[in-house]
Amino acid sequence: MMLPVPPAMRASAAKSPPPMKTVVRRIKFESELDLAFGERVAERAYGQKLLSCIQCGTCSATCPLSHYMDYTPRKIIAMTREGFKDEVLNSLTIWLCASCYSCQVQCPRQIHITDVMYALKREAIARGFYPAHHPIPVLARSFYERVFAQGRNTESRLLITLYLRTNPLVMLREAFLGFHLWRKGRLSLKKESIAGRKDLRKMLNAVEHGKKEEPL
């Protein structure tokens, strides 16, 4: 007598078996952690509140981007607090954060989560912790340079720089939209700048001497 084959078995018999998964070692030795990292980030993000996180997950649930993140905001806080510096600074999460402040206004412990994200972004950018041509740090950098020099940003020029520095192909795709905007009078290539450029630069340079963030 033949025993009926359960459907699941038949299906897998028909397909080729899945490839063997490679074994990945995942354990954390305390010596690999930077225990004071959390406290330093907390200081950067205004006060010790980061440490008072109760891991409730409200931030992750309210964050509109958490489902694209490699670590949810809650996990970022947990890892920051416990000193998982490399993981945090290498995460995609900090680049996906759109600074919408949803998490921050809802956090039951009033943790400045968005400011934590900023602090982590700054650190990652300062120490080159992001893939080359990653558009977000590149955008931030280009924007920074432009405003530093001119006092104002020219959106069109900023985008062109961004695409040139990251993926010129995107520019082709965006050119069509650009043309439409230009036709509607919503795109200007005129370089914006302010009269008090020199003084502004003096101010910004004064900061260099004033407060420079130590690497975390």
Partner: protein, 674 residues
């Protein structure tokens, strides 16, 4: 009165309660009422939404008056809940309260039956049985016993101390019995208390000396209750006083004898310091011990072992307080009420060998750490490990022997909070990196969450996960010489190895080793886990099933100091209520001797669990002390001559009830014939 005259025809009133949906949701109450109305002698049968409400009770009273009822049956909830209510209503209506029978159709029928038709049939059967039975009820007199105004409190931890002081301040004489040489219980061992971090000694010692000095409190330390007899209001208690070999009334606690002892150094592990230091054979548990009287431990004293000691202690004491001839004493007292406050024991962490307690010297139990951080502890509050080092990293493991089906299933309720407290103190004393390994943080008391919040901001690590092992296996050079904690950080999703210098095991709270003996001696019950059982978990949390005996503090279940004190106050209030009422009403369901049938065979004497039966030597017959009789019925069944009977359980009553149950729906009047 109609009820006392048996020539009057029987007129029974039957009432069935809906109890909201509790009963009426399952049982067709209208049909039961209709059915009962047709039973013999039933004059009226009604249904009502809530019989226990005032209108419900008034219904009965009005019917008694208007319809000249002389027997009442109520089908509703458990007699435990409302028998008293309905008896009172019947009495107010002008009938003897015992012309009443209650049928439990809620716990016994509707709550346990999901078939409405079958439930309705069962309700009818039970109603019929009660109606048959109630016809045979007789008028009975209520009985009262007086309450002795003195009280006994057993156990002088914070709960016992508070209960004793409350009673004494209300003017009652209290005997406070404590097993150890000093009062104070566990609280006396702590340095600080959560969540306010006030010093334990500062808040406890004033209460301890208040006990000592209170004119209404007789403190019997180093003593234990041996025998308990009697009944509510009239307990007879025998207490054994262990010899201290010191005359308590002479000793002033100057401790010069300890200094003078021939032992230059202590050799015996100090119990109060959890064995973290050594004491001499003559010692005092701690400087503020109450009473401030030293003790001699005969097991280690040379004089007791060999009889050849120089007895320097005797010569140094100019008050002549040392007395090697002291003997054990027994003291008998009479009290009306008893409060048990015998506290708890901590879980023995050796039962979980994977945490290395007893194997690695730097693994500590939380109670040991309480002593270690205590300014008056073995190291004067300096954190020196057993191997002499100062810890730079400390791991506190929560839920050791709690929330674990392999050991104790319950949550010990205090460990989260005292772990937070210890984390704070350890950080404060050592500036070490402190980790808490927890399953959940349970900080539900007033100001507790705020305390947790504060701790979080002190940069103490909180790793969510139950630790699997503590080992000295170093997988990396950085782990060399350390205790390595292996845990899943469930919040981050990675297994971690955390090397530390010191491990603190947050041991749970469990029943004291002798809880079962104490329970038997005082004739109360324990819940499955072994803590003393309260009469009702919500509505009678400090009462027990034995009248006049109350429980307070951690002997009833794990709890912290605020809850222990609150319970102690409640227990004292309950005792005071009894004392100030002066007497209690007894259930009349006691056994009695029909003397004309008693042959004086004595078979009943030994079998009464409450020793209520004695023999009247003059008459040569058995005699039952009604105050002692609990109505268990053992003797009634045992008497070979059928001379012992029991009120409310007379043969005719029981047989008619059985007839009622067995009668089929085509009724006969057999059961109700008189």
């Amino acid at each position: 009165m109609p009820d006392t005259d048996s020539s009057h025809p029987l007129r029974i009133g039957f009432y069935i309660c809906h109890c909201g949906h509790n009963i009426a949701g399952t049982i067709d109450v209208a049909s039961v009422a209709h059915y009962a109305a047709a039973l013999p002698h039933v004059s009226v049968a009604r249904e009502y939404k809530y019989m226990c409400s005032d209108p419900g009770q008034e219904l009965i009273q009005k019917d008694i008056r208007d319809l000249e009822l002389n027997r009442i049956v109520v089908a509703s909830c458990s007699p435990l809940l409302h028998e008293h209510t309905f008896r009172q209503a019947v009495e107010k209506g002008g009938l003897n309260p015992f012309f009443f029978q209650m049928v439990n159709i809620r716990e016994d029928v509707s709550w346990v039956n999901d078939n409405p038709a079958a439930a309705t049939v069962k309700a009818k059967d039970l109603a019929r049985a009660a109606i048959f039975r109630v016809s045979h009820h007789r008028a009975l007199d209520k009985k009262h016993v007086s309450i002795h105004p003195d009280a006994l409190v057993v156990g002088a931890g914070i709960a016992g101390i508070h209960a004793a002081l409350t009673l004494a301040n209300a003017g009652k004489k209290v005997t406070l019995v404590e097993r150890e040489p000093t009062i104070g219980g566990h609280m006396a061992m702590f340095d600080k208390t959560f969540p306010t971090l006030d010093c334990a000694a500062c808040i406890l010692t004033p209460k301890m000396s208040a006990v000592r000095n209170h004119p209404n409190i007789r403190l019997l330390s180093y003593s234990e209750v041996k025998v308990v007899g009697g009944y509510v209001g009239n307990y007879k208690v025998t207490i054994r006083r262990k010899p201290r070999y010191i005359k308590e009334e002479l000793c002033v606690g100057c401790m010069e004898c300890i200094e003078a002892c021939v032992y230059k150094e202590g050799k015996t592990p100090d119990e109060f310091n959890q064995g973290l230091s050594k004491r001499k054979p003559i010692y005092i548990p701690f400087p503020q011990a109450t009473p401030q009287v030293v003790v001699i431990d005969p097991a280690t004293c040379i004089e007791f072992k060999s009889g050849h000691c120089k007895k320097t202690c005797v010569s140094v004491c100019d008050r002549g307080a040392v007395d090697f001839s002291q003997k054990e004493e027994t003291i008998d007292i009479d009290v009306g009420t008893i409060i048990l406050a015998t506290g708890y024991a901590t879980f023995d962490p050796k039962r979980l060998p994977y945490y290395g307690y007893g194997k690695y010297p730097n693994v500590y139990s939380s109670l040991e750490v309480e002593r270690l951080v205590n300014a008056s502890g073995p190291t004067a509050g300096e954190l020196i490990l057993r191997d002499g080092r100062h810890p730079k990293t400390v791991g506190i493991i929560h839920c050791v022997g709690s929330r674990d089906r392999n050991t104790n299933r319950w949550c010990s309720r205090t460990c989260c909070m005292y772990s937070l407290k210890l984390a704070h103190l350890l950080k404060e004393h050592t500036e070490a990196e402190v980790y808490n390994f927890y399953i959940d943080i349970r900080a539900a008391g007033k100001s507790y969450e705020e305390f947790y919040d504060k701790l979080l901001e002190e940069n103490i690590h909180f790793v969510r996960g139950r630790v699997a092992e503590v080992t000295d296996w170093a997988a990396r050079p950085s782990e060399e010489g350390k205790l390595v904690i292996r845990v899943e950080d469930t919040l981050i999703g990675v297994v971690r190895r955390v090397p530390v210098d010191m491990v603190v095991l947050a041991v749970g709270m469990e029943p004291s080793a002798d809880a079962q003996d104490v329970r038997r001696m005082f004739n109360i019950s324990c819940s499955t886990e072994g803590f003393f059982l309260e009469r009702h978990p919500k509505l009678a949390p400090v009462d027990t099933f034995t009248d006049g005996i109350f429980i307070a503090g951690a002997c009833q279940g794990p709890k912290d100091i605020p809850d222990s004190v609150a319970q102690a106050g409640a227990a004292a209030a309950q005792a005071l209520t009894l004392i100030d009422t002066g007497e209690v009403e007894l259930e009349p369901n006691t056994a009695y001797i029909a003397e004309e049938f008693c042959s004086g065979c004595k078979s009943c004497l030994g079998i009464c669990p409450y020793t209520a039966i004695t023999r009247d030597e003059i008459k040569g017959k058995a005699f039952i002390n009604e105050a002692l009789c609990k109505g268990c019925g053992t003797c009634v069944a045992a008497c070979p001559s059928g001379a012992i009977r029991q009120h409310l359980f007379e043969d005719d009553q029981i047989f008619s009830e059985i007839d009622g149950i067995l009668a089929d729906d085509n009724l006969t009047t057999a059961g109700v014939e008189r």
